[in-house]
């Protein structure tokens, strides 16, 4: 470990601030775009048009919605646990933003290229459950409480197969540094070697972000709005922002681990395409395709039942991911 010195801090400070500003801007912009995209995708899947009024094809709709949310009164219901209640939205957003510190958008475009990047990602990601628990418990609402309790069980159940499936990627690339994992995929993307792990990881990341069909935490048909029932204005808005931020994180990690990160397709006929776009663009294209699939899933399926959700994780995902890990370990040692 290097010794942290004052001069180092001074040298690093501009870079840190720049990264922070860029990441926050990226997250906010993404949320605006993704909400618009979600509404358009949902609309067209349902033979509707989606937002059409504000701006050309409703492009400015989410911006206006955001402004409206900011203008709303922030209500603190009686008998809430005020510190927890107010802290929860921030607690949800901060880890989602902090994760971006280690995500490499391209070879150079990474705020901090840690050698244990993958671990940092999962450490931060598991914090989100705390935020939901704080929100549900703090708001002194029975729907919120049930939602929060569901969230804990769900996160515990889905984190394990997710980590196990990621381990097999680590076995392949011999590193937990995210740039290292991407570089290891120069020749061939991991999805080709690890389709099962990819599928498990993808399902788990949908569940981790509490997106339909795994959105039991908010499950509006039984829990009205689950953990954020009592939130108004920007309190709700920040949760919303956090949800979309963690959606991007999930898709980004999946891209890095399985879809070759910023690498264009270097195999088959795709090899010719690789040079067309710069690395960042390749990365973002893959991320948005994954996000589109998440949306597609959301607007197609009904919500699963809670016990079945847990059963699916413990009885299907976990055995499959473990088997996959063992097979990978054996094959790489051969």
């Amino acid at each position: 470990m290097e010794q942290i010195t004052t001069s180092m801090l001074i040298n690093e400070l501009p870079r840190l601030i720049l990264s922070l500003v860029l990441v926050i801007a990226f997250v906010a912009l993404n949320a605006l775009m993704l909400v618009y995209m979600e509404r358009k995708v949902a609309g067209h899947m349902q033979k509707r048009l989606g937002p059409m009024v504000v701006g050309p094809h409703g492009l400015l709709q989410t911006l206006v919605d955001g402004i409206k949310l900011m203008g709303k009164q922030i209500i603190n219901p009686e008998e809430v646990d005020l510190p927890l209640f107010r802290m929860a939205p921030i607690l949800a957003l901060v880890p989602a933003i902090a994760v971006f510190a280690v995500i490499p958008f391209s070879e150079k475009l990474v705020a901090r290229d840690l050698n244990a990047g993958l671990l940092v990602v999962f450490a931060y990601a598991s914090l989100s459950v705390l935020a939901i628990l704080a929100a549900g418990w703090g708001s002194n609402n029975k729907y919120g409480l049930i939602g929060a309790v569901r969230s804990v069980a769900q996160q515990v159940a889905y984190e394990i197969p997710m980590l196990v499936s990621v381990l097999s990627v680590v076995l392949l690339s011999h590193t937990t540094q995210l740039t290292g994992i991407v570089n290891a995929q120069k020749g061939m993307w991991n999805i080709v070697y690890q389709p099962v792990a990819f599928l498990i990881f993808f399902i788990c990341s949908v569940a981790e972000t509490n997106r339909a069909p795994f959105d039991l935490v908010e499950g509006e048909s039984e829990l009205t709005a689950g953990f954020h029932t009592e939130y108004s204005g920007m309190g709700f808005g920040v949760f919303f922002l956090a949800e979309y931020a963690s959606m991007v994180v999930g898709a980004a990690i999946a891209t890095i681990l399985f879809l070759g990160g910023w690498n264009g397709p270097t195999f088959g006929i795709g090899g010719a395409l690789s040079g067309i776009f710069p690395g960042v663009l390749w990365f973002l294209i893959k991320v948005y395709i994954l996000i589109f699939i998440v949306m597609w899933i959301r607007w197609t399926y009904p919500r699963v039942r809670f016990d079945q959700l847990l059963n699916f994780s413990w009885k299907v995902l976990l055995p499959f991911s473990l088997a996959n890990l063992i097979i990978t370990a054996v094959v790489t040692k051969l």
Binding site: K142, S221, E222, T300, P302
Partner: protein, 371 residues
Amino acid sequence: MKIERNLEEHSLYLNMGPQHPSTHGVLRVILKLDGEYIEEAEPVLGYIHRMHEKMGENRTYAQYLPNMGRVDYLSALSYNQCYVGAVERLTGIAPPPRAEYIRVITTELNRLSSHLLWFGAYVLDLGGFTPFLYSFDDREHILDLLESITGSRLTYCYFRFGGVSKDITDDFITGTRAFIKRLRMHLPMYETLVTKNVIFINRVKEVGIITPEAARRYGVTGPALRGSGIKYDVRKNEPYSIYPEVDFDIPVQDGCDALSRYIVRMLEMEQSMRIIEQALDKLPEGPVMAPKVPKKVKPPKGDCYFAVETARGDFGIYIVSDGTETAYRIKLRTPGFSNLSIFAEISRGTLLQDAISTMGSLDLVIPEIDR
């Protein structure tokens, strides 16, 4: 029936409704929960009670007709049919055959629209948003068709004592045939999207078990009863109007669960389409109103009961006349009332999410329950 609150226990009392996304209107259910398991459920009614029965005593027979569209706004024409049927039985007015055919065609279209709405709303209850809009897209065509005949889109007041208020047009007939063709094409799509979906099946299978014995104790009727393996349909058991002249089946499933009730309704849509097609083929010429209907309907003294099969079950009207222009007593026996009364029993011991899918599978329309 009543939930006693005991603060010593570690139970959670959850007040679901009267404003709740899944109670379809203003139904309130007090739930006593142990974790997510329901220990007791107590439905609380009356939030949209309008005392339709009292209105019947204060209005003339003709003036009470518009009320029928408001009792159950989703199958208003079945209610129209029951009421005019009861008054016709009481007074001895006989509608001409063409009117009877038109009544059946429009009522079955109305049943289709009710089932389509239920399908969408049920999947919405289970968290699937998209099928809801697909079924509304189809339902909109029925509403357009019925609007072109009756003049309203939801609370129809179309049948009259001794006939119907307006003859159907050729446009309506071609439109109906085109719609049936369209719906036949769309039903397999619903099947792929919902019926076969593994998440959906897991949500409804073996959920909300209504045993045939319990169904009889509570007086459950309609698709909820037919999902418990009992082949009872007023249209077959006690045929009225022109139902004996058309060929149709009564779909029955014996799973006793929400899935069976779901499948019964989906199969019923096909049967409704068959009835409409046959009725359109056989549609006789002639007037649509009986020749001598008095301006003021004044049935003789006496009582009479008339029952029809609505989209939700057996709806009966019991009229007691004292020989004047207004009824002495009108009793509306609504199917939803009995169907909901079983909810407390079948939801006991199930998960909160199962209660939602059970409630949805009963196809509740609260105004009809509260009257």
